[in-house]
Symmetry: C2
């Protein structure tokens, strides 16, 4: 019975993938690019057959899936999607190594934006659109997962507020997941459309505007130009993308509150305040170091805030090669790589709220020194947080850093220097994309040996799925169920 | 009343410093080195006067000092000691910059071992002995602080086991702090004497044996030769120091258990097992990468285990310039820099037990996914740990990493590259000593501007005093008492 549901959900996923490949197929036909047509037609046919098979299996009754099943399902779905997503890269012949194709597909769906292409401008439009589409789908999947699904499980520090807190309403947006998901899709599509419009006003053609809007809203980072956003050399485009990266890195449930007119909830949101403060402070600090390089503070701020937003929200677009910036600016970006976006956003990383929780916990420990018999709680969004939130956050951050260091060690085996290796680990686990040194903004991942690409692919998926989803599969307890 | 105790304790400290300068004074007289004689005679006279003043203040009645007073006292003591300890460096004229003298003194007392001297072999013996003495005193101070004093406060994840646990005895060694301190001094002196003996058997003269034993037992790292331990080029000396670094990085309360014949407690100690496992695995991994460089596995292990023990225990001695090792070996050492020694040892860093707690917490979170209604505790030393231990550890690790990144940013302002800056922060906050790049084993800290040296000095003291002791002084709550 459970297996039947599993198959059905995965088959429906196939339908979604087939649907998402159709725009690329049309582009291939419009460009009369025969290899691209085949590259998308074949997987569409395979996926559609799978989806039809699911309909044949018929409607099954509601069966309660436990947490373990859920995690297995999510991991399998991500695995299957990554494999299917890599097919167009191979069939079009733009990559010859299947590991490269898988890496690019995983990097797309996890909204990382790390690429193995040295020259994206020679790629067929169908492929460029597909790369953007993988971002956009992945970003949406993550928002639904982290806003609608994971909080129900109450792990990893996501269920932040006490269920019994006397707040105006529960933290879940609506009780039913499907209804929540629909609202989130609506917000996501709306913001994407708005960005497309603004980018076209800035002079982008529709193709570039759509692909970049997809990549921005997903905090992905795949572009259509080798120089990333620097290609357009436009202050308007830079600022539009900066603002939309920041919007994409915010908790999507806040947009729903805005739609409801509950602005009080937004103003009170602790994570949002800290997130915006980090962007402001980091942008100002870096702008000051860049002042000798650019003529005015406005110009310096344009480039610093773009790169700050790009790294913090884990997007990975670039308007400047920050690997050539002064050490201090690089150190600030390194710290941002450890932070990440807000919970419930398309951004990756450790997430701002987890840092807020640990910061407040550190403050409580100091207070406890002065008042050994005092009882201290953590306040979030103007309310008292759950007592066990620190447990989840502490476990998560430890696992996160352990994975970062494990990946660093694997990357160094290939001979990479320490900064390149550490930043490779940080930007793959954190779904950022470009790092320092041999994975800097002007570089790519093609030079790494296959085992590094595979480990990075694993790291991207693990980081994207909030670690637990993937790590649970490696425990004997999980399989003993 | 409280102020009177404060003055008395600080004055007694002066007496201790005066006493500890006497061996250096004798060496200065023996060497007929006039500047050194003055450099130690003056501070001895000043300190002795202070100590006599304390006796004049007379015996005060027992007054309960609260936690806040304790932290103020410890911080003041460390500050005063560092200032007084820097005087000989200035008076002898071996340094001209007072900031350099302070840095060297702080580095000594905090058992860091970072030096501003490019050439230690030209220093007078009195100064070399003083550097070793600062280590030895600092190491002892820390053991008493962390084994006997801090557990009474129950913060920062040090009070690990439930007070009500049905174990064979309380985790405190003896109820009275003074009695505990005496036992710890006895163990410390005994181990130091044993190492002196073994080093002299290995061919060291008494001066080198004593100074190196002082630096080893304190996990300090100051030596008397520019090439550090590599100078002696002796497998016997390398292995003796490796073993004593490992012994110094172990919890000193375990030695007391051994004296009592309670070997069961030692075998059951979780932290010790993990600590030894880390040394073994890291040494083997690095030995494999060094195999092409050295002739045999035994030789590769000799050099890998020395450097592994030196970094993990936060000593900082070197028998090889690990900055020239392959990236993978450097990555392993980088990870060790984040770990540190055992709690209650002379080693610094985050400490092994805090990693154990977070690792177990991560495991519990995964278990909670599978059994949402389950209750999970953390087992340490075969017993159930305190429920709030995770709180203390989480707050501590966050503060630790925040300090590391803050120091990294300050260091990059001086123009240092990212690896050098990050490792400078790690090795000062963690009290290790040498890092990578411009602070590598063959380098020193003289080239840094004064503000970096001052920030590093602060970092060394903060790291040494388990952060809280220092950070509490920056809270408004502390001064509002």
């Amino acid at each position: 019975m459970k297996r039947r549901i599993l198959i059905k959900v995965l088959a429906l996923l196939l339908g979604l993938i087939a649907l998402s490949m159709i725009p690329s197929l049309f582009l291939a036909i419009a460009d009369r690019h025969e290899q691209s047509i085949r590259a998308f037609l074949y997987p569409i046919l395979v996926c559609t057959s799978g989806a039809l098979l699911a309909l044949l299996l018929g409607k099954s009754s509601q069966v309660f899936l436990n947490a373990g099943d859920g995690f297995l399902l999510v991991s399998l779905a991500w695995f299957l999607t990554s494999i299917l997503g890599s097919i167009p890269f191979i069939v079009t012949g733009v990559v010859s190594n299947p590991v490269d194709a898988l890496f690019e597909s995983v990097s797309g769906f996890t909204t990382t934006g790390a690429t193995i292409f040295a020259d994206v401008e020679t790629l067929p439009r169908a492929i460029l659109f597909w790369r953007a589409m993988t971002h956009w789908l992945g970003g949406m999947g993550i928002v639904v997962l982290t806003v609608a699904l994971i909080p129900l499980l109450g792990v990893g520090g996501f269920q932040l507020l006490k269920a019994e807190a006397p707040g105006p309403e529960k933290d879940k947006i609506t009780p039913k997941i499907t209804a929540t998901a629909k609202i989130l899709w609506f917000i996501y599509i709306g913001l994407t459309a708005l960005e497309v419009l603004l980018l076209m006003i800035g002079g982008m053609n529709w193709f570039d505007a759509v692909t970049h809007a997809f990549a921005t809203m997903a905090t992905g980072g795949f572009g259509t130009k080798n120089a990333s956003i620097a290609y357009y050399n436009s202050a308007w485009i830079d600022w539009v993308i900066t603002i939309f990266m920041i919007l994409a890195g915010m908790n999507f449930s806040l947009y729903y509150r805005a739609l409801q007119g509950k602005f009080q909830d937004i103003i009170k949101n602790t994570e949002l305040k800290v997130y915006l403060a980090i962007i402001l402070i980091a942008s100002l600090l870096i702008a000051l170091t860049l002042l000798p390089k650019y003529n005015t503070m406005a110009e310096a701020l344009r480039f610093s805030s773009f790169q700050v937003a790009s790294i913090l929200t884990t997007t990975g677009f670039a308007t400047a090669d920050f690997d050539l910036w002064p050490s201090f600016a690089k150190a600030v970006l390194l710290v941002l790589m450890f932070i990440g976006g807000c919970s419930g956003s398309t951004g990756g990383g450790i997430k701002v709220v987890r840092h807020v929780v640990l910061f407040k916990q550190a403050g409580n420990e100091i207070r406890r020194l002065l008042h050994p018999r005092g009882v201290f709680s953590i306040q979030l969004n103007g309310r008292v947080g759950r007592k066990d939130v620190v447990y989840g956050v502490a476990g998560f951050v430890f696992l996160y850093l352990a994975l970062v260091f494990a990946v660093t060690m694997v990357v160094t085996i290939s001979g990479a220097d320490l900064v390149s290796a550490l930043s490779t680990a940080l930007v793959t686990v954190g779904n950022i994309g470009p790092g320092f040194g041999i994975v800097g903004p002007s570089q790519n991942y093609a030079h790494y040996p296959d085992y590094v690409k595979l480990v990075c692919s694993f790291a991207m998926v693990a980081g994207r799925l909030e670690l637990w989803t993937v790590f649970i599969l490696f425990t004997p307890e999980f399989w003993r169920r």
